[in-house]
Each structure stands twice: as structure tokens, then as C-alpha cells.
């Protein structure tokens, strides 16, 4: 039983930001939710999927974010409330559709939740999605705490229906993946009836066809709607001020930075000197409200993540209002008072405020800081990111890396986004040499594969995950096959969208709600497209390497599907395949191959080097019993026994 659907009005629960967002959508009477997994957004769709049956929802993990937006928009066109969820990159993927959708508008309320990852805590970029709101002229809300993460969703749906357009709600990792106390609102049963009205006149936004033509007319209508948005934002309860009537310094902030700013003011004991304007409606900004608060002080510090979006928008208003409010001194990212990269935290805010107001602040005695740093730097080993013990990717990249080494032509692998991105690091034997967006490895390989004309004879490979294959690889694959690009695509099929928590994808026979659905077969699709296809088991190192060599000899586009379940998959997590042990008498230790092959090169976290005995050993707590190290050990010292 989920607290998210069974928690009653007025009850207070400790919930994750993403769960609060899901509860908010339920309280708003959402009918359809679609998204693509991506940290830190994934738990919103997961939470809704879990309650989809008892709440009469349709929830899906779409093939990618653009399609998720389209699925959500269809529900809206048919009069239902719909939610669309993704991480920051997803808005890039869906933005082509979103640009057109902003012109046609919507009917049932449609809310786009986009979760940014400042500091790239689980991303390969820290791109911002707030800018799409300004670029596509859509309203933007940003919750400033956990309660607002819930409450704002309902308000966003109401706004969306008032202006008949999409409303964007931006969260960040430190809200989505943090937990806080939230008081629940009412869950009202709503009547859900879908019907798409399309027989009205061309220009009728509620009963005519949904098309962006004529563009200048629709665009004008969209901008008129934004004026209504501004009027509502002037009165919004999500914009709050706390502090003295005439502060020496005004902080303007939004999102998780609100909590950091509040904390920083408290750390400095500066509540009687510093005002805090927390904005929940960050685009378009309400000019009267901003005018009022710019008027109470001469110094303004803007705190936000990551690049100066709020700062620039406030400064535009300040320039327009200069004749009323007079000149102001602004502090923020453009002047370097706070950094414009990485995430913020209470200390960065405190440092900026203490510098501006000349308040002395020492977080810890200097001697303590110095000594603890000394200890860490001299005595505590760093902890690099690594594939898990038993991860099939370690075995796959071992095979690919060895094949490329033996081939000797300086071949390389183009990668993309997933756990396998880590193969750019030593844990994947530094095999990946390019790392960009989802599917980009295949697009790049498609291009590299056409450079033979200019003398390039390096073998070109690309690795893609099974979920990524459907998300963004298919068009690049079509391109490579059609243009006879001479490359090898390795599909690392670990049976789910593993990195984000094992969500299903179109290659699996189950959907987000746990219902049976037809699975699409990657190998058959590639064969039908005209590729030469081979299948191997990632853990079968010998066969996999032989297959890679064989494929190097074949012209044109080759696909190798490497199958092995993720070590964290629910199927594998609780059971060991093998009991693995080291026969100490046989272990050659430093005399092995290139000196401790298993711990120095393969370095699975389940292995350890026993310094005293000078042999390898298995860490019984970490080892998951995949048995791969037994097949890489040249002397046969690592032995595996099938678990009965």
C-alpha cells in the first residue's frame, strides 16, 4: 500500500520530493503520465505507476522524452489532465515538439516536470532546462521546498487550464532526491472522460484542429496568454518575502537555493540585516512584485543554479524600472560573487553574504580543517567510480578492450549515456574515447565509418544500452546502414534501464504498471534493417572476443548483442551464480601475466590483494559470484563452483 495514494488529507508524511510531486499530481486529478527514466526525475513516474490501477491512471515509460511529451499532449487534447516527466536532457530531446505545442496550446491541463541536476551528480552535463521556458514562452514554476513540490503541481494544472498552454515545473536533484515533511491535501475522485474535439473552425483553440498555423496569429495568442500569467504571478502565494522592511542586502532566490539561503542567513546570524525574496514563479517574472522588493534596498544578491537565468531576468526588469527604483548594485554569478558552475550550498551563499556585508564567519576552527584535510590527503584513499561487482559491463569492455589491443590498429569505441559511460574511466579499461548524448556514439561511429576515403583504417565501434537503443540509436543506425558505414555496434543488453533503477523499456515484456506487453527484439530489428548480427553472453569472454574479431573481418554494419542481466536487477540481486575462491597455492600474484592481472587490471571490487600472503583473495561481502574473474585468471587460481 502506498502512502502516496492512501495518505489522507491533513496528514503529515516524510516523503521524497519526487513523491511529493506525484502526490500533487494525484491531488490535481491527473489521468495520464508519461516520461523517460533519468536521474533525478525517475521516482515520479515510478510512484504514479505503482498506484495507477487503484487511481485509474494511464502511466507509461515512453521510448524517449519527445514521445512522452506527445503521449501526454494527446491526453490533454482529449480533455484530460496529463503529466510529462524527464530530466534536464529530456527537454532538449522533446523541445522540437514542445515548440509546436506551445503554439497550438493544450486543452486538459498539461504540466511538464523537468528535473535538473546542478553539479551533474548523476549526469554527464549540468545543462539547464529553465531557459526553455523563456525560449518557448511558457510559464515556469520552481518549488522552494518539499511542501511546495506537492502544492505547486495542483496550481500548475489550474494555470495550464486557465491559459490553455503547457506549464513547466522545474525541480533539482536536492529537492527531487531529498525528503521532507509534507502535509497532504485532498484526493478527490474525478470524472475522466476522453474525447478529442476536432471539427470546430481552424482557429478555434478548444474545438478546432490542433495545428500551429497560422503561426504569427497563434504566436500572438500565446503571448497574450503570458500576460494573464504575469497577472496571476503578481498575486502568487509561491512568492514569499521574509526579513526586515529595509534590509541592507536582499537575496532573491528560487528552488533548493531558497533552503541554502535561509540556512546561510541563519549561520551568519544576519536575519535582521538580510531580506529573502523567494520566487516560485520564475518566468515570466511578475514586474510589480519585483519592483516592490527592489525598492526596499540598494544591494541585491541573486542565488540560483546553475547559470544566471533569474539574475538576467531581474536585471532586465531593473533596467526597465530604473526611473522608478533608481540605481542598484547587483551581486551574483555575472560578477563572480557566486560560482556559475556546479551546485550551490549553504556555505557558498554564506561566503557571498559575509563578503558583501563584511560579516566574519568561520565554519570550523582553522586548525581542525587543516588537520582533517591533512589526514584525508595523506592517508585516505580516493574512491573512484567503478562498475559494480558482477557488472556485465566490466566483462563486455574487457572483451572489447582486449580485442582492440590485439587488433593493434588503434581502434576505438564511441559511447553514450548509461552506466557504461564509466568505460571512459579505468574501471572500463578506458575503452570509450567519445562520450556525448544518448545515441551519439552510433551517430559518431556512423561518421567515423565513412572516413576510409581519407585513409582512416582504425576499427570503429560504438556501445549502446538496451534502453538507449530504442531511445535514440535507431535513427543513427538507419543512417549508418543506409550509408554503408563500416562499423560495429555493441548493444550491452542488461535487461532494463539499469542506471536509473531498472525501469522497463520496449525490449521487455512488461510495462511501467507491470502489465504484459509485446517485447521488441533488438537482434531481429537490426537484422531486418540489413545489419550482420551476432549474439553472445557478456560473461563468455572467449566467445565474445572471437566474435568481435570475426566481425572486424566483415564489411559494412555489424551488431553484436551482448546479453547478461545487470548485477543489481531484482532477478540477480539475491542469488549468487557461483561460489568463487582463490587457490592460494596456484595464484602467481605479482608474477602473473602483467603482474596481478585480476586486481591490478581487471579490478572488480569483489577482489582484494592480500599484501602479506602476496595472493589475490575474494571479498565475501562484496563478491556477487558472477565467476568472470575465474575466466580471466591465466593460472587457474581463481576457481568457481556453481551454487546449487
Amino acid at each position: 500500500m502506498s502512502i502516496i495514494s492512501h495518505g489522507r488529507e491533513g496528514e503529515r508524511h516524510l516523503v521524497m520530493g519526487n513523491e511529493a510531486i506525484a502526490r500533487g499530481a494525484l491531488e490535481a486529478g491527473v489521468s495520464v503520465a508519461a516520461g523517460y527514466p533519468g536521474t533525478p526525475s525517475s521516482e515520479i513516474i515510478e510512484t504514479l505507476a505503482r498506484v495507477s490501477k487503484d487511481q485509474n491512471l494511464y502511466v507509461e515509460w515512453s521510448v524517449n522524452e519527445k514521445v512522452a511529451m506527445e503521449v501526454a499532449a494527446a491526453a490533454s487534447f482529449a480533455g484530460l489532465r496529463s503529466l510529462c516527466v524527464m530530466k534536464q536532457n529530456g527537454v532538449n530531446v522533446g523541445s522540437d515538439f514542445l515548440l509546436h505545442l506551445a503554439l497550438t496550446g493544450v486543452r486538459g491541463g498539461m504540466v511538464l516536470i523537468h528535473c535538473d541536476d546542478p553539479g551533474a551528480l548523476s549526469s554527464a552535463n549540468e545543462g539547464e532546462s529553465r531557459h526553455f521556458a523563456r525560449m518557448l514562452e511558457l510559464p515556469l514554476l520552481e518549488p522552494g521546498d518539499f511542501q511546495e513540490a506537492k502544492d505547486m503541481i495542483k496550481a500548475a494544472f489550474e494555470l495550464s487550464e486557465a491559459i490553455h498552454n503547457v506549464v513547466m515545473v522545474r525541480s533539482v536533484t536536492r529537492l527531487s532526491h531529498a525528503s521532507g515533511s509534507v502535509v497532504f491535501g485532498e484526493l478527490k475522485p474525478v470524472e475522466k472522460k476522453a474525447f478529442f474535439k476536432h471539427s470546430g473552425l481552424m482557429l478555434d483553440p478548444l474545438e478546432g484542429p490542433m495545428a500551429s498555423l497560422p503561426v504569427p496569429y497563434r504566436h500572438g495568442q500565446q503571448q497574450e496568454k503570458l500576460k494573464q500569467v504575469i497577472a496571476r504571478f503578481e498575486e502568487s502565494a509561491f512568492n514569499t518575502y521574509s526579513g526586515p522592511e529595509a534590509p541592507e542586502l536582499l537575496l532573491i532566490t528560487s528552488s533548493a537555493c531558497h533552503l541554502y539561503s535561509k540556512e546561510a542567513i541563519s549561520l551568519l546570524g544576519a536575519a535582521d540585516r538580510v531580506g529573502l525574496l523567494k520566487l516560485g514563479t520564475t518566468w515570466p517574472l511578475p514586474p510589480r512584485l519585483v519592483e516592490k522588493y527592489l525598492g526596499i534596498t540598494d544591494k541585491i544578491l541573486i542565488i540560483e543554479e546553475v547559470i544566471p537565468f533569474l539574475e538576467e531576468n531581474v536585471k532586465i526588469l531593473a533596467a526597465e524600472l530604473a526611473f522608478k527604483i533608481g540605481p542598484k548594485t547587483f551581486y551574483g554569478k555575472r560578477e563572480g560573487d557566486v560560482p556559475a558552475t556546479n551546485e550551490m550550498n549553504p556555505d557558498l551563499v554564506a561566503a557571498a553574504v559575509s563578503e558583501i556585508l563584511k560579516i566574519a564567519y568561520e565554519a570550523v576552527p582553522e586548525a581542525y580543517t587543516k588537520r582533517s584535510q591533512e589526514v584525508v590527503l595523506s592517508g585516505v584513499p580516493g574512491r573512484d567510480m567503478t562498475f559494480c561487482a558482477g557488472c556485465p559491463h566490466r566483462a563486455s569492455f574487457w572483451s572489447i578492450h582486449n580485442a582492440l589491443q590485439m587488433d593493434g590498429r588503434e581502434g576505438f569505441v564511441c559511447g553514450d549515456i548509461g552506466c557504461y559511460s564509466l568505460a571512459v574511466l579505468p574501471t572500463g579499461f578506458s575503452t570509450l574515447k567519445t562520450l556525448h548524448a544518448m545515441g551519439s556514439g552510433v551517430g559518431l561511429a556512423s561518421g567515423f565509418g565513412k572516413l576510409g576515403q581519407f585513409g582512416m583504417n582504425q576499427p570503429v565501434l560504438a556501445t549502446v544500452g538496451d534502453s538507449t537503443f530504442f531511445h535514440a540509436v535507431l535513427p543513427a543506425l538507419v543512417n549508418a546502414i543506409h550509408h554503408q558505414s563500416d562499423i560495429t555496434i555493441v548493444v550491452l543488453d542488461n535487461g532494463g534501464t539499469a542506471m536509473t533503477g531498472f525501469q522497463p523499456h520496449p525490449g521487455l515484456p512488461v510495462d511501467a504498471g507491470g502489465d504484459e506487453v509485446p517485447a521488441l527484439d533488438v537482434a531481429k530489428i537490426c537484422e531486418a534493417m540489413g545489419a550482420t548480427v551476432r549474439i553472445s553472453d557478456s560473461f563468455d569472454i572467449e566467445k565474445t572476443q572471437q566474435t568481435i574479431f570475426e566481425l572486424f573481418e566483415i564489411k559494412g554494419l555489424k551488431v553484436l548483442v551482448l546479453k547478461q542481466m545487470c548485477a543489481l536487477s531484482p532477478e540477480k540481486k539475491t542469488q549468487k551464480m557461483f561460489d568463487v575462491s582463490v587457490e592460494e597455492n596456484i595464484c602467481l600474484g605479482q608474477n602473473c601475466g602483467c603482474n596481478q592481472l585480476c586486481t591490478r587490471i581487471f579490478k572488480c571490487p569483489g577482489l582484494n590483494w592480500d599484501k602479506d600472503k602476496r595472493v589475490s583473495r575474494i571479498d565475501e561481502v562484496i563478491c556477487v559470484g558472477c565467476g568472470v574473474c575465474a575466466s580471466i585468471c591465466p593460472s587457474g587460481a581463481i576457481q568457481k563452483k556453481e551454487v546449487a
Binding site: 533552503l259 541554502y260 549553504p346 589526514v375 584513499p381 580516493g382 574512491r383 573512484d384 567503478t386 582484494n608
Partner: protein, 205 residues
């Protein structure tokens, strides 16, 4: 409900360890136990790329007043619960102070730099002396070894929760633990977790 008095408000706890040790689960359980005491809890954590093998940290802010930043400010941690000894020291560098208290599981999890021989893992004596030097109070527990005796190393995190209750720094009690853990577990698993909790309490007394 009677309001709980905290020694500091907000009282700040960091639960740290290596991905896969049950860090996130431990922070949820402690958070739920305290939330039921009518306290405002804020938990900040990161997960995703660091699922296994990376350093992980959960920041718990416990307050009678309100929500706080999901990131504890530098030097403001009151209690560190560490599932791995080197991670305790890493936390102290950023969040420690001379008055911090530390509960530390002694079982090392070797980073790949150590496995490969590029870096050296400190001896337990070194680790203990550094942790003692950088804290006011510290407890060293063989939680993973005890958990292995119970049949599953993952129970180390529950033993550490029991120990946190045992030192009395926070309003954590057995009844609260049972209520929180019963939400997800029942039968034999529940009994085993209660046993691990009790063991943790006894290990600091």
C-alpha cells in the same frame, strides 16, 4: 504528542558509507522513526551513478521548527554514522568539528585504487587514532562481522541504527524502529532486523 527536546536544533546527522551498503535505507528508517516523534525531518542524499562502489552520504536535519537545507553546512554535523571507516574521515574533512560524535563500522571496503595497488588502505590503528583525534566521542563497531554472523552483511546498517539509538543522542527507540521497519518487512526478515537492532544497542552499552 509531547514535543521532543533536541540538544541542538537542527540536529545534524550524516550517514555515510559505500554504495550498496544500505545507506539510503538506513537514512529512510531513521528519518521515519524521528518523523513519528513529531519532528521535522529533511534528508538530502545522492544516488544514481554511485549505486555501488562510490562514496555515498545521507544528510539528516532534525528540527522541531522547520525544514532545513538538504545539505548540512560545513562543520555543522553533530553525529556521523559511518558504515565504512575511511568514509567517516572523508565526512569529517567537510562536516566535522571538535564536538562531533562518531559511530564507525570497522569493516573496510577497498576502493579500486587500493585493489589495484595504486593506493594504500590505512591500518585500523591509524584509522582509529585519526577518528579519535577528530571527534569528541567515538565508537568502533564490528557491525559487518556481526551481520555476517546473523547471515547477511547488509544488516550492518541496522546494527548501526541500533547503536545510534543506544548512545542516546536522538529520540530513537525500539518501538519506533519496529513500526518503521514493519512498513516494508514482515515475518522472519522483520525478526532478523529486530535482532540486528538489539545487537547494535548492546554493542555501545
Amino acid at each position: 504528542m509531547k514535543n521532543v527536546i533536541l540538544s541542538c536544533d537542527p540536529y545534524n546527522v550524516i550517514i555515510t558509507g559505500v554504495g550498496g551498503q544500505g545507506n539510503v535505507m538506513a537514512s529512510r528508517v531513521v528519518g521515519n522513526m524521528l518523523s513519528r516523534k513529531n519532528l521535522n525531518i529533511t534528508i538530502g542524499e545522492t544516488f544514481g551513478a554511485s549505486q555501488r562502489g562510490g562514496s555515498v552520504m545521507s544528510h539528516l536535519r532534525i528540527s522541531a521548527e522547520s525544514s532545513w537545507s538538504p545539505q548540512i553546512p560545513r562543520g555543522k554535523c553533530h553525529l556521523v554514522i559511518s558504515l565504512e571507516p575511511t568514509e567517516a574521515i572523508r565526512v569529517l574533512m567537510n562536516y566535522g568539528n571538535p564536538n562531533v560524535r562518531i559511530l564507525c563500522n570497522t569493516r573496510p571496503v577497498h576502493a579500486i585504487g587500493v585493489i589495484s595497488g595504486e593506493q594504500r588502505y590505512p591500518s585500523m590503528d591509524e584509522l582509529k587514532s585519526w577518528i579519535e583525534e577528530l571527534s569528541e566521542d567515538c565508537w568502533f563497531l564490528e557491525a559487518t562481522e556481526k551481520a555476517l554472523e546473523l547471515g547477511n552483511p547488509i544488516l550492518g546498517n541496522i546494527i548501526m541504527i541500533g547503536a545510534a539509538a543506544g548512545i542516546g543522542a536522538l529520540p530513537l527507540d525500539r518501538e519506533g524502529f519496529e513500526t518503521a521497519i514493519s512498513e516494508t518487512l514482515s515475518g522472519d526478515k522483520l525478526a532478523l532486523n529486530l535482532k540486528a537492532y538489539d545487537l547494535g544497542v548492546s554493542m555501545v552499552q
